[in-house]
Homo-oligomer: 340 residues x 6
């Protein structure tokens, strides 16, 4: 059981039941989540000792967010309390060719306005094995970006393994701004989760050409750009989930990973989607879990893909698939047969 720390914003998610449009809803389903919070829940669910670092308002809505994490065994001792409000995102769930629609109302949140003095990184990283953050946190405000760098520096100073998931959100910042900030932060990162599109649009790196076609071309391009990213930032490994969006209801789901030696592409799952929000976060959590348990990059990746495939069948932001469900699926049983 490793000690893992994640840091980021936790938001209130408000979504009309089923496939209703916002305008039809007389009530909203309530969930609490956010990129790194979702990673924390998933890792706690797999049995690791997980801490989530954030700031939420000192009011009952902040209490709700904390309780939602505690329920799933995430340690909340380092969640600062104060500031103005809990960020909100409204989610209208799509189906078939209608995409889900997200309306952000997260400006002025406690985490967006958090500052260095809200966090005691010495205490936070005491005895920690891993620190994870995503590109959402530096995107929400300049202050949050500064706090992120502070955390990364502190983790690095303690020799803690650091993972970062690009998680680019175009409604939060431009490619240009993201490029500048991320380039700085990536120097502290050991395990990077990001796609070739992130490399191209955010880091401004060209994708190479190839005569290959189909999946071979994709693998070739991915391996090449991953190598160059590693060269540039010194990552131990890079992984990317690969989503094929046939529609809002059906997706293909796989991933690839590269550690400078071996490029590995996972099994692919055909997903019938219940809730795709948090799919990427559950992939990150699965990958961290696999790596921290020293399964090797192949098995770690398969664990991550199986875990995140299952996430798509679970309502809400967080992955509640059990370790045994993940391992069963990794082991090849995707039949969905009832056990009784």
């Amino acid at each position: 059981m490793a000690k893992i720390v994640t840091m980021g914003e936790i938001m209130l998610r408000l979504s009309p039941p089923g496939y209703q449009k916002f305008i039809q809803a007389d009530n909203f389903d309530v969930n609490y989540g956010g990129g790194e919070a979702n990673v924390a829940v998933s890792l706690a669910n797999f049995g690791h000792k997980t801490h989530f670092v954030s700031k939420v308002p000192d009011n009952p809505i902040g209490d709700c967010a904390v309780a939602a994490l505690r329920k799933y065994n995430v340690n909340c001792d380092f969640i600062a309390r104060g500031g103005e409000r809990l960020g909100i995102y409204y989610l209208e769930t799509g189906a078939s060719m209608r995409a889900s629609n997200v309306v952000y109302d997260r400006a002025h949140s406690s985490m967006a306005e958090a500052a260095a003095e809200d966090f005691d990184f010495d205490a936070i990283f005491e005895g920690a094995d891993w620190f994870h953050v995503s590109g959402i946190t530096p995107a929400i405000s300049d202050g949050a970006a500064a706090v992120t760098e502070l955390a990364l520096k502190a983790a690095r100073a303690k020799g803690i393994t650091v993972s970062l998931d690009f998680n680019y959100r175009k409604k939060l910042w431009s490619y240009e701004k993201a490029g500048k900030v991320m380039t700085n932060l990536l120097q502290y990162v050991d395990v990077c989760i990001g796609s070739k599109e992130d490399a191209k649009y955010i880091l401004g790196m060209n994708l190479s050409d190839t005569d290959k076609t189909g999946i071979e071309a994709e693998n070739y391009i991915n391996k090449d750009i991953f190598q160059r990213m590693m060269d540039r930032f010194g990552f131990q490994c890079i992984a990317s989930s690969l989503r094929e969006s046939y529609s809002a209801s059906d997706n293909g789901w796989s991933a690839c990973i590269y550690d400078g030696k071996e490029f590995y592409r996972s099994r692919k799952y055909e997903l019938r989607i219940v809730d795709r929000v948090g799919g990427g976060d559950s992939f990150a959590a699965g990958l961290i879990c696999g790596l921290i348990e020293e399964r090797g990059i192949k098995e770690a990746l398969e664990f991550a893909v199986a875990a995140s495939a299952l996430k798509h069948t679970i309502p809400g932001d967080v992955n509640l698939a059990s370790r045994s469900e993940v391992e069963g699926l990794m082991g090849g049983d995707a039949s969905g047969r009832v056990q009784r």
Copy 2:
């Protein structure tokens, strides 16, 4: 922003939640809708000034129906109040190979028993650009058929473009009765929405033979019958949605249109169905929207097909897909990717 008038019955729809059978339900989802009412909501949603003409009882249930339309910005100034009751239809939603089941309880409704004096067509059509009605309204009663003819005459007299959707309902009238009434009404129509089956069974027109096969045969037969319908009734154009019912859960969805010069068949969507009721009405609304905005028949048809494809992903009778969602889908993005 055009002024568009539709006329018909609005009903209370009562449906068990999810896929429950009627006998399992302890509560019914409540929606208010009906062929032409659905068209009105959809057109209002696309930004047009839309009036719905009908009659509903002067009681709280009638108030509910009116409020449901007003919510979506449909002008209800010409809804007469009085009569005995609001028509009802019970809907049990099917899945896979189990079809949805509709039980009508619409006899004696206020609209079925409405009369000429309930409507001031001079005022109703003042400044209007378009009038739409479907074959459901003349089917509900002889009185409603007479009112429909009156409306069509009044619209024609004012030079308003008239569209009519066959919308044949076998639980309401026979092919024979429909044939007699529709033949008379079609003389007032500019834009006709109807299928080759409508032509064959209701208008008694033979479908031509062809050596062609598959989609070419279908196109050939459609174009041919459309030409003969135009010859007979003087339509400006005829359009037909083309549903392939693989099951209650999955349909193919496309359409064709003919204006005497060009026969055009749209892109086809593969639908994962949330609620298929009102699919045809959303097609009619999309077509009217496209034509009134002078997009040309091809683009108008693609707008109609995209709009109605999206309707199938939205619970309830009415299409609440926004103009930008429709145009995004027309533009080719059917990937269902979340925007955030």
Copy 3:
């Protein structure tokens, strides 16, 4: 209208709404069901005079179970009242590659602890045409196994046709124990529902080899093992449903039957699943219905497969598809078109 008796346990089923995990649920959907109870409801729904024999506690929860059956027209005059508790099973509904998860809490139930004196089989079988039981009942306790044998003897003594569905539940007993008990009980059986896997693992019979491949091999092996089972136990016929579990959301569904003369394999349905619990029970009920109405084994099997295909689209344990829905599907209409 035949008189049909089924005997077994009825349980309270508690399931989180939709695709929630147990840990997310703030309320549970409530259903009452169980193998033979589900058969009884389905047969009553098809119009037969159906009795369910069981024991439930003499408290309000027992009342609920009885009321749930009475609602669907099952005669409950022979349900004994007493004992400690109503058995429970918790059901978490899976989707895509996540299997549904069943947690049993059925030990110490009234039926598990029922004894001979709870049932007056003379009265129960008075005028009965058919008796059905499944392998679940003898599995729940030694006492229930003894009662099952008593019932089978009494039915046989009265010349009533007896059907038995293997319904092996690995969480209830071992193959070894099942083999011993079932071997004894099968001597009283006329119509057997069981798969080649049941024959192999429970009855210890070898499956034959064959050079054939695909469906032909499957048919060959099934016919061969069915012949040997008939030879051994003297069945009139054996039938088996054939589920292909692509995922928790999509299954292929067909069946085969053998009566010593003819081996028949049914049409196959591709299911989009709403609720697969009770699928096998609805197959048994459909088969009994078909045989008791003397449709011949082919039509009886097609009736059973269509009925049980429809069950998969209905929430809860019991099949509420009407006779006309089943016959419509048998007749070839799987299009899911709304009738209106």
Copy 4:
């Protein structure tokens, strides 16, 4: 266990959840009930063999009404199937000084249009001990009034005890019409449930003056008018529930009875109301139960008042309070203490 027959209309009740106004509701709670149907359920619940006679449409909504009765052990063998529709009533539940609001949509119902040939009263009354009907049934249509008289004559001819509850509904008929019809029907009645207001407004009988005040005056007037009603119609006894409507949330509830010898006024309960619909019907059922079990008029009345007091705490039309709950309350325990 006596055999009791009731006859009347059963309707679909649609009510917004909680205290919502109709216009706020996105779903309606579904209940099935009606004056005499409610009496039947209550008597079945107390353990008597109860039959409900009615006519409902031969469609799934009619099936739902029948299933709702069967669930509570009411025999439905004499419910005719056919006709146009199931009557509906919409119920908006009031609170405090806001009254509940009922909107009827019951015209043209199967029962309203039922005729003599729908019912075989010889079979219906075979072995029956009691027949109950209310003034609602003759009010819904002239045909239903004729059927009511037929039933009353048949019951009388068989020597079955007959009870009738005035249950005047001003939205269904005028005092004048009611007076004419009821005067005729009352000649067949043994046990009458009706108030002094019924006597005054429907039967046109004057209420006597008195110098007494308060409860004594009320008792004096009631006894006097009851005596004159007995003289006129030959009743065995007359009972009346006495509701004090402080508000929609709080009522006083008691009753009085007279058998020509003794006038008895019951204990009074102060009700905190959950659902007051069916309160009168549960009183009638309690009275019938008490009288048929030969408890004497005092105890029968106390049973009826306790039963109907409890009804006011139960959602829906029907009284589901158990015999032991009623007897516990009669015995004086109104403390509401949890038993555990």
Copy 5:
């Protein structure tokens, strides 16, 4: 039918169902409301032509707020679209001695940041008879206070009657700040709704002493302070609702009014509370309705008190009691008897 304009903020209200605490809620009931929006809905509901002036974001959540008003027939032509977000308030509903708890999240809302150029007061007040605003609007921001003064000036310039409700919210501003702003705004007001506490704490006016006791003292003090407020600001009349908070479940509810000639105190209602939010707004709406229909101050006040008493029995912010329900209650029928 008068034309009435109200201006203010409309918010999203999120409340746990029933009496749940925030931390227990897995879904929130969704309502849209705000002081002046509630007044607008109520006046539209009474049949007046009502306009609501505000600013909401140009996103789907803003659309929802507008649709919620349109549903109840409020004209939304003058709602500006733009800005950052729709204000939110979280409401936890209390019971018995537990108070309801409101958590505001309304900073940075579109209305709080609205400016003069968002509103064309010439067009807005064209043909208007009445303008209403409350003290909440100037409290939400300095900009909103400036817009409020602009609106008041414009209304006054057109000779439109102006009403203002103090509606002091201590979570929004201090007494001191409120005093300064309100003193300025009150110069434009004709009809003032405010309590003696508002006069004392906001306007800094002393309440007079008296030897009287109980209700006489209260009346004396109210009349005296009202006279002095009229002297100071030139009101036509002043009214105040009088709430006695026995508990969160039970309140006494009455009001008083003074027009410089007559001081009148209304009937008092004992309320069993369903939802007390918007109680004061429904009082303001009732008063405006009564005065604009020239009922005289006494009847206008009784209309206002009856209307707002009924509001307390209706879930949500807005009063949906019909004119006939209000007039029935004014006429003395508070019995809550069902009409059927």
Copy 6:
């Protein structure tokens, strides 16, 4: 912040929504609670470091129970996992004169069958300040009674303050059995919560006579019996909540305490009940909180009574009233006024 340990059973509570009877429910509200678990949640909610000791099955239902506690910040490190099942209780919520009805299904639960080896009391009581248990735990099984004694001895050995709440459940054991077991356990207790009825019926102690009447008599008798209980068992103090059950909807609620020197009777609250389950447990928690914070017995008692009064307004077993809500009510504000 003190460290407090409680030990007992946690159960799944299944209750029909609102005031439905069991037989009406299509879903059950899900809560997890139990006497000492409820105490733990309440103390954690007041900010103390609270541990709950129990045993739950090692399955997903056991996980749910643990998560429910963790959500509210109860430390679950000492909950053993294993055994057969989680105990269940079904709760039908009463209203007015209809009592709530509890059906237990708790036999064979993991806690009932727990043994000494499941608990490491050395670790459990390490650094603890207080240990609390109730009379329910020894009642559920002889094994649980033995474990209770073990725990009490261990706590006493460590000098930890021990509180015990009689919590007599007549459905679990007889007075005689309870008397024998409790007499033994009480020797380890410092703070006793129990009523004069417990003393009389369980401990077999006579209540003294008195000439006093009303509340004075009650106080006299309570003080006298408390003195004798202290003499016999050596308690530091004894407290008793005093419930006056007017009905299931309305109760009077107060308490008394005695420490050998002073007898104090608290303020009395008139409760409008939302959910009375757990009322006694919230009283125990409030008392422990008050005593551990050294408020003195009077203020501790007032804290306990206010806390538990508020519990009655909150759905579910556990008291979620905040410390500030409790202190506000203690301070005299029972007006239920909204704070905004």
